[in-house]
Each structure stands twice: as structure tokens, then as C-alpha cells.
């Protein structure tokens, strides 16, 4: 509901204020609204058609509209609470970046390495990186685990199931 928005601000300022990354990080509804708007815009690019003759863009457009409306409704209902909280909470202040980066980094390592350096290097890089999510010096156990997983995984997926990856690329 627009009356809940700080008074006297133009629509552009409203959007500029609302689509800041730090705010999106705290308010997924904004991301949903943005997704709905973009998806709806793209759907217009496909042929939309009408009820009598639906084009490929018809259903996606309807769904985009539904998404935007639902997200807007959530924003409206949560607005008093968001306002009450504003200022009090520093965004992303105490977020645990270490496990987040370790897990993502591990998966990324697999994506980048699997086809270029082969199965073993990708698997070991992935397991070692992911294991770094938790603190503590235990390199030996991590490496032993990575080795066992890589060998077992190689036999199950590459040898048995025929996944086309080289052992070492």
C-alpha cells in the first residue's frame, strides 16, 4: 500500500530506495517483485495472444503478474514490522561467510575443474574446499576423506555408470 511509503517521494526515488542490494538481502519480496517484473517483461517479448488464441507468452505473463501481486501483498502486510526494525539491524553483520564461501567454492571448483583437469583433481578440490567450512586443523583427515570419496566415486560413477569424465584430464 503506497500510503505506507515515506511521503513525498517520487516513484523513481521509491524504486531507487527500495532496490538497494543491502535491502534486497534482507527483503526477499523485493527480489520476487523484480523477478516478476523482468519475467513479465520478457513474456511480452514472446507472443502473448489472447484467451481464444494463447501464445507462448500468455501463461508466463499471468504467472509473473501473480508473483508481483503476491509479493507486493507480503510487502504491504510486513511493512509496519520492516519500518519498526529499520536502523536497528546491521545487514549481513554477523553472517557466517566462512562456511558459505567454502561450500560455494567447493562446488565452483568442481564446475571449473571436472572437464578440464579430470575427475580426481576436481573431486579432491571440491571435498577439501567444502571441508574448510568448519574451523580446526585436521588436514590429514580431510585429505584421507577426499581420497576415499574420489576413488569410490570414480568407480561408481565413471567406471560403473559410464559418466564420461577422464580420471586425470
Amino acid at each position: 500500500m503506497l500510503h505506507a511509503v515515506p511521503n513525498g517521494k517520487s516513484l523513481t526515488r521509491f524504486f531507487r530506495q527500495f532496490l538497494r542490494p543491502s535491502l534486497i538481502a534482507r527483503l526477499p519480496v523485493l527480489l520476487l517483485i523484480l523477478t516478476g517484473l523482468i519475467a513479465g517483461g520478457i513474456a511480452f517479448g514472446y507472443e502473448v495472444g489472447s484467451f481464444t488464441d494463447m501464445g507462448p507468452g500468455f501463461v508466463p505473463l499471468m504467472l509473473s503478474i501473480a508473483l508481483v501481486l503476491l509479493a507486493a501483498l507480503i510487502l504491504w502486510r510486513e511493512w509496519p514490522m520492516i519500518q519498526a526494525r529499520a536502523g536497528g539491524e546491521a545487514a549481513g553483520h554477523d553472517f557466517a561467510w566462512r562456511p558459505f564461501c567454502a561450500v560455494s567454492g567447493g562446488i565452483l571448483a568442481w564446475v571449473l575443474l571436472a572437464e578440464s583437469t579430470g575427475f580426481f583433481i576436481a573431486a579432491i578440490a571440491q571435498v577439501v574446499l567444502a571441508a574448510l567450512a568448519l574451523p580446526g586443523p585436521r588436514w590429514r583427515s580431510i585429505l584421507i576423506m577426499a581420497g576415499i570419496l574420489a576413488v569410490a566415486g570414480y568407480f561408481l560413477f565413471v567406471v560403473q555408470l559410464g559418466v564420461p569424465l577422464e580420471a586425470v584430464g
Binding site: 520476487l32 513474456a43 507462448p56 508473483l67 559418466v163
Partner: protein, 502 residues
Amino acid sequence: METLSLLSMGFEQALTPEALLFCFIGVSLGTFIGVLPGIGSLTTIALCLPLTFHLEPLLGLIMLAGIFYGAQYGSSTASILLNVPGSAPAAITCLDGYPMSRQGRAGIALFITTIASFTGGSFAILLLIFFAPVLADFAISFSAADYFSIMVLALTAASTLSVGSPLKGLAMVSLGLLMGMVGTDINSGQFRYTFGIPALADGINLVALAMGLFGVAEILNNLTEGNVPQAGKEKITFRQMLPTPDDWKAFRFSCLRGSFIGSFIGMLPGTGPTIATFMAYAGEKKLSKNPEKFGHGAVEGISAPEAANNASVQAAFIPTLTLGVPGDAIMAVMLGGLLIHGITPGPQLVTTDAALFWGVVASFWIGNIILLILNLPMIGLWVKLLSIPYRFLFPAVLFLICIGVYSVNNNSTDVLLTLVFGIMGFYFNRHGFPSAPLLLGFVLGPLMEENFRRALVLSDSSLATFVDRPISAAFLAMTAVLLVFSFRRKATLTDDKAQPAP
């Protein structure tokens, strides 16, 4: 009598050495991941989905289903011993199971939950045997409009009946439906939302999406929130498991009531086992003459929810197999798996693919009997599993996710997408937006669009067709009632920190 002869044909299918082997693998794997907190059955089923492409559909389905109901048996173990649910539906078992464990009655609690699981499962299988063919006969007359409406009902139920805000559930359903649009439009051949990425031409990979939203997101959540499941060192012997006469008395009827509630909830489209366990627990507490003992180790508090849990899981196969409408996200993945195998679940499945249908039904019983053996004399083995530290588990699960997703299409882009979906699921869950409705919407999206378009073509583009047909109108009316009910119940939507839904 015809049913019984079909069932005996099913047993012939399910008792072949191969079928028995895959049933055993499925239920053992299910118990394994059920016991371990932090790995869900959905992740495991999605992980095994690519493996089933090398199998006959019947064997694949027997194994995947075995994981699903096997996990329900295992999931109470950690609830009772560590006060940490092995999976979402077992959360309620913590309430009375853990106090029992603190009172030195852990063995009895494990025994009771296993017997309750078996009773609940068997009750629902009987229902499946006698009710599914009747429902399939009735559903043969369903038109496109009816299918569309029942899917609307299923999605609405899935998003509004879950824990947390119904509006957020509905928003996630819309996002899921929209994500289901990615790929090639079957009517016009137009690429939609593929952004020139070849891996998206056939749509988003179901395994990548499920693994991301559930597998990766779950691990990210556990690690960043610091709630890493702790390893336990309990020991249980068979002797400690025998209940007292009082326990039996409390067990008998609560278990039957739980089975009944679970079967009923499981059959409804859009509801999962979690809600069945909550309702069974609430029901027992209301019926009890001394409700104050709940939360302090009441036998009814574990037997009814566990029976309901397993009953709902088995009964969930009724709408999925006979209507092609899955009850929850796990059944949606199962449905997706069947579609990839070229099998379209629906009323025809019961007659045209009778061998598959009855073979799977028969395997349920065999699986439940195997589970009884696995969980009673061999419980000590599973309890030992709880001593595996999480720091070894999650890198191994992530490794299996990477190679598992890669193996579906031999494609690194899918693995990258898994990471993206994982971060997305994690981010939304943190803010009380559940992932399950998204996945359900994703699987049902293309089916809904197809039925929506077909219904309008058949009715000369009149939207009235959805309310003119009595069956469709009934489903839409139920949807409306559900919406009104859930918004009245949860009038306050200021629960931003709502519990992350499963």
C-alpha cells in the same frame, strides 16, 4: 477378488531377486539417511534419480519409494536419542521421545516408534490396495479442466497448510510455476527464459533444482547457523526395547488413530507427512484424560505421530499414482522421475501399467517387513551411525550432489545451477519462504499450463468451463475454502522469522 489376483501378480513382480535387492537397497538407504540428521530424504531421492535411469521403471520406483518410507522409520531415532529430528516430520517425536530417552526408556521409545511406523504403513497400504483402483476408475472421467482445478487445489494446500505464512507459500508456488515455464513451449516450439543457455532448452533440470533447494540449502543453513548436528554415543540393546503392559495399553489405540489421521491427510493432494504428524499429536493431546503428561515422555505422543507419519507417506502414493497429482515436494520429485521414465501417472496407470502399479504396491509391504527387521534386531547398528561427525558427512554429501547432478546430462552447467538454486533456497528459507511449494509448482507448472490451454480449447475459450463442470467446480470451491480458512487462521502475517519450512 480381482484386486487380490492383481495383488498376487504384484507380489510376483516384487518378489523377483532383482526387485527384492532394490527394495532392500532403497529401505536401507532410507533408514541410513533418516537416522542421520541433516540429510533429507528428498536430497537422497533426487540423488538416486539419475541412477534409476539405468534401471527398469519398476525397479527404480521400488528403490526411490523405499528411500522415502524407509527414511520415516529412521528419522525418529535421532529425535529420541539426540532431540534432533532426522527429518521434518519427526520433529514432533522429539517432544515425548527425548524425555523418554532421558528417563532411560530410549529402547522402548525406539521399539514403539518402529511398531507404530509398521502399523501406520500397513494401514495405508491396505487403503491404497482397495481405494486407489476405485479412485482411478472415478478419475478416468476427469477432463482437462478438472485436472487443472485439482492441481490448483494441490498447490494451494501445499502452500497454505505448511508451517509459516500462507502468502509466502503462495508466492513461492508462483515462482515455481514460472520456473516450470523455462524451456521449449510444447505448443509453439518457442524457447522461453532460456537466455541462450543450451542446458536450459529442455527446461531446468529437476535434479539440479531439487538438490540445490534441499541438499545445498540445507547444508548452507546448518553450517552458517552453527546448528551442526552433534554426534551421539548411545548404545541400545534389544533387551532394553521391550515395553511394559502400560506402554502397550497407551500404544494400541493411539497408534490406530494416528494411522487413520495419517492415511486421510496423506491422500489429500498438497499435504505432506509433517502436517499429518502435527495433527495426530494435537488429536492425542486433546483426547487424553491427562494431557499434562504430554511433553514428559507420553507413549501416545510418539506412537500416534509415527503411525501418522508412515501412513501419510504410503497414502501419498494414492493421488500421485492414480491422479498424477503429487501431495508434497518428495512425491513431486518421484512424479518427475516417472515422467522421465516415460510413464505418465494417472488413472490409466492402474490398468495399462498394472504390473508396475501392483508391483510397487506389493513392494511396499515387503519393504515395510524388511524395515521391521532392520529396525528392531539391528537397531544398535543404526544408533552407531549417529556417532559419525557432521564434518565428515556434509563434504561427502556435497561431493555426491556434484557428481550426481553432473551425471544426469553430463553437463557442468547443471552443477553451477545447483549452486545457484542452493543459494536461492538458503536465502529464501532464512526469510521464512519455504522451498517445498516452489518445487511442487515447478513440477506441476508445465502440466497445469497444458491442461489450462486444453480446457480452454475444448470449451471455445470460455473460462466458465472451470466452474461449469461439477468436479472442477468442487475442487475450486475447496481451494476457496482453504484460502479463507488459512488467512483467517493466520491473520497476522508478521512472522518474518517464521520457522523455515521443510
